[in-house]
Amino acid sequence: MRTSFPRISVILVTALVVLAPLGLVFYQSFLDNPFFAPKIQFTLSAYEYVLTDEDFHSAFLNSLMIATGMTAIAVPLGGILAFLVVRTDLPGRRWLEPLLLLPVFLSPVVLAFGYVVAAGPVGFLSLPAEAWFGFVPWDIYSITGLVLVAGLTHVPHVYLYASSALRGVSSDLEEAARVGGAGPWRVAIDVSLPMVMPALLYAGVLVFFLGFELFGLPLVLGDPQGILVMSTYLYKLTNLLGTPSYQLMAVVVVALVFVTFPLVVLQRTLLRQAGKYVTMKGKGARQTPLKLGGWKWLALGLLALWLVATVVIPLAGIGLRSVVSSWGRGVTLADQLTLAHYRDLWEYPNLIRGILNTLGIGVIGGALSVACYTAVALAAHRWPSRWVRLLDFLVLVPRAMPGLVAGLAILWIFLFVPGLGYLKSTMISVWIAYSVVWLAYGMRLISSALLQVAPELEEGARVVGAGPHRVNLDVTIPLIRFGLLGSWLLIFMIFVREYSTGIYLLGPGTEVIGSLLVSLWGTGDIDLISALSVINVAMVGVGLLAALRLGVRLHG
């Protein structure tokens, strides 16, 4: 009976922004030519081609394997690391936390290339290993290597969800187990982690999903062995017939959306079951760190090992590459040291603009996106309605479109929808593309902040006389301001490292570092790439430091 008009309109706008590009892609998948070609016919031939293509099958299987494998690695490891950092007296956990999150913010291409320099067949770690063992005991170009790298680098995603859930669990439960005779390890496995099972499962589904749309890592690490995954298969389709065949690419996207669908349903089911863990309260749970005792060093060792494998090694790789002119077998690195790449970088014509734009899209665009995500999250906030269920699905859908396709589809929207043309090739279009692609991630951050707000605080304001909008402005938003600040920071770092989405929307004046990197990768200027990456990483690092100084709680 009560009017829900503002909520519905926000959801409808979201639906429009999400479904317009996707709808276009769907439509394209049933055509024999680009949808804007003068002569087009409806046909299923694109489906026939893709679904019977052996490469598609192998790409699908590889993606499935990688997604499964990385989920199997990332979820337990992320859960355990979250337990160690959040619930125990692990030494140095304050400053370990930002390091834990670092891989989320590194461009996967950069990360992968760092691994090549460090642990590739002639990497600076592989050569000594080869001298020692007579062979290199690892192969980062294999599926196993890919799964391992992908799994390790996605630990932070699980960590983010698991840690914020763990913060809500009252210490009593753990202490009860401790008193009952369980060591810290048993407490984690038997009490703490089962308590946050819904969060872990949710994160697991998300990681599985990210596994399916992995692009940067397989692009660099899968290349030498020709390992195709869904997204690199998409790339292959671009060239296979000489001219880009949009209908074939569209079919792959449709296939990805169909993989999404059951996952979203699964996610919803998992969240519904979360109700049985009612002891988790948003607030007031008393927390005392669990004493690790002698386990401390083992735990620290585990954490350090992961950090070395996931952060130190690739960063050392990329950092080293940026200060040498040559590397690899038979090179004495000390003779090759140079700062020339950074000097050359300074000569790079669009660099300053690229850095400024990157900062701009991160800082201003990030803030605007957080504002939009907040509006959408508030529209669904405490509203048991079918519309909200629709929204849950909507926000995940863009994740099914690899950034490159999403970018192309959004370019089409700007081109073919009358009145939008003047926005094309402005930072606004880039911002819209980024916001749509990262919708699911941002929404999740904000909804989890909203979950922390006790309903009475809002109801109190209603009863006192504030309408729904006043409640949002005066109570809800001020209450989640730290969560919003944290989300802004995360979105800033994600936007700063984003590389594929903006490619079609770039022009003079809209270049960002991520896309410059991809463009340089094509022609081989790896000297510049590595120097630029180091600067990119430094920007992310400064962002993290700033966050810590400001006392922003990264977990929202």
């Binding site: 009475e456 109190g460 209603r462 006192v464 309408g467 005066d474 301001r481």
Partner: protein, 356 residues
């Protein structure tokens, strides 16, 4: 005219019917307590009055003006009902000072800042927190927070204030003081209030009338004295006060009284007489309820007396509490001295025993 009237309100939550047709009235200057076990729907009813839950049938009017009417499709949102609500958790906004928490309702009503200052100071003075206006909620004790929550609901003089378990978050000693303070405030300010509580003592202390809810329906309504002294059902009798429950068979009926053969009765033991509440044929099972304070240790066998073994005596300070048993039968009673172990006689005055 009733300040608040609720007519046949029905409400579903998550597919379960929580309120199954509840009606009640609240007169001006009166305090009505909604009492009931958890899950009886008392908080839901309060929230429906506040406009925080949406019934699917019935009417709710404030001062004669309908704020909800399923038939006429009227449903005023919470902020338009001009009520005051004190939450169980107080729900003070942690990002605002005490002053700002209290002032918010006035600000929303477009009151000028000078008047806001004056009225907030006045109400903070009334609740004894005049010195704490600049503090944040987390800097206050539980009792102080409870008062701020009350001030926040009172400051714009709503016709009715709603209290959801207002004292349940305070510890036992503080709770008794707060109860007296709250009753005093209500009386001196001539407030009309609807108060949810699961504690019958609290309900009787604060309220002029009590509405006892059971599984979404009104079990009995009346003054505290009626509720305590003349329960109409077993549920009410058991819910109010501290009771002994005596199960058995109905042996005899006479003039509104009946005799209960308590389960496990010895051959020579007398029947237990009590007031017959409701209709029940002789020979069927029946339950006797008697308040703890009505049971008296007696010096020997006699009318309406039962002999039981003393299990233990507990010293409560101002009196002793005894626990007796005989087979499955357990009886508690009060007295003013420690009893010797062994068999004792207990008298159950017939007018104080209700048979259901």
């Amino acid at each position: 005219m009733a300040e608040l009237s609720v007519e046949n309100v029905r409400l579903r939550l998550g597919g379960m019917e929580i309120l199954k047709g509840v009606s009640m009235e609240l007169e001006r200057g009166q305090v009505v307590a909604l009492l009931g076990p958890s899950g009886s729907g008392k908080t839901t009813l309060l929230r429906a009055v506040a406009g925080l839950e949406q019934p699917f049938a019935g009417r709710i009017s404030l001062g004669g003006r309908p704020v909800f009417d399923a038939g006429a499709r009227i449903d005023l949102p919470a902020e338009k009902r001009n009520l005051g609500l004190v939450f169980q958790s107080y729900a003070l906004w942690p990002h605002r000072t005490v002053f700002d928490n209290v002032a918010y309702g006035l600000k929303l009503r477009g009151v000028g800042s000078g008047e806001i200052r004056q009225r907030v100071e006045q109400v903070l003075g009334q609740i004894g927190l005049g010195q704490h206006a600049g503090r944040f909620p987390h800097q206050l004790s539980g009792g102080q927070q409870q008062r701020v929550a009350l001030a926040r609901a009172l400051v714009y003089s709503p016709p009715v204030i709603l209290l959801d378990e207002p004292l349940s978050n305070l510890d036992a000693k503080l709770r008794e003081e707060a109860r007296a303070w709250l009753r005093e405030l209500i009386v001196t300010l001539h407030l009309s209030a609807l108060c949810v509580t699961h504690d019958q003592v609290e309900a009787m202390a604060i309220a002029d009338r009590i509405l006892l809810l059971n599984a979404g329906q009104v079990e009995q309504a009346g003054t505290p004295q009626e509720m305590y002294g003349a329960p109409k059902s077993l549920f009410v009798a058991e819910f109010m006060g501290a009771n002994n429950r005596l199960d058995g068979t109905l042996a005899e009926r006479r003039d509104g009284y009946a005799a209960l053969a308590v389960a496990g009765k010895a051959q020579d033991e007398p029947l237990l007489w009590g007031r017959m509440q409701g209709e029940r044929a002789a020979g069927g099972p029946a339950t006797g309820i008697v308040r703890l304070e009505s049971v008296r240790p007696a010096d020997g066998p006699g009318e309406n007396r039962l002999g039981l073994e003393l299990v233990t005596s507990m010293y409560l300070g101002e009196r002793w509490e005894y626990l007796f048993h005989r087979g499955p039968l357990k009886v508690r009673a009060y007295g003013d001295r420690e009893l010797a172990p062994g068999r004792h006689w207990l008298e159950f005055p017939p007018d104080r025993v209700w048979l259901f």
